[in-house]
């Protein structure tokens, strides 16, 4: 089980590295932010698997913090796009 969790963490790490391609290639800033969000979600998964390997439930606190910080980063990105970036609800019938 420990080796399985380590191999699974390695697979998720490869996914995160592949997400960096989107950060490099992405034609807009939003694509780069999506790559960063992938690293956030993948990091949470890797930390959960590492807490299985090391048998330390305290690593789950770090995973919780990383999920929070990813949310903060996304909100910071949207609010850096300008004051009205996500402000108004859709108008229409």
């Amino acid at each position: 089980m420990i080796i399985f969790a380590q191999v699974a963490a390695l697979v998720i790490l490869v996914n995160m590295a592949a997400g960096l391609v989107r950060v490099l290639k992405g034609p807009t800033r939003t694509d780069r932010m999506l790559g960063a969000q992938l690293i956030g979600t993948g990091g949470v998964a890797v930390l959960i698997l590492l807490s299985l390997v090391e048998r330390k439930p305290a690593i789950l606190d770090v995973a919780l913090l990383l999920a929070l910080l990813a949310a903060f980063a996304a909100v910071g990105f949207v609010s850096s796009l300008g004051r009205d970036a996500a402000a108004e609800p859709e108008t229409g019938p």
Partner: protein
Amino acid sequence: MILDAAAAILILLGLFFFTAGTVGLLRFPDIHSRLHALTKADNLGLGLVVLGAAFHLREGWTIAKLVLVWGLALAAAGAVAQLIARAALDHGANGDDGARL
């Protein structure tokens, strides 16, 4: 023993969905479709990994903490998807998911 096998199968499924979400992030043509791949498929993979970890560590408070991490990741992904989609729409993406008829 059976619970460990179930945990391994759930983590494998989680890895499959996670990889599918990453492939979608790399291969989809438009911002909005990439948002779907990222916030739905990757979080489903994370949820399955959390479920497999909960099957493996069988203590109460640890399972509660795992479910809390997953719940927070889901709520954050949902809110972030809406925010980024709206902001990208306002800034020039055309929001038709890249569909070509």
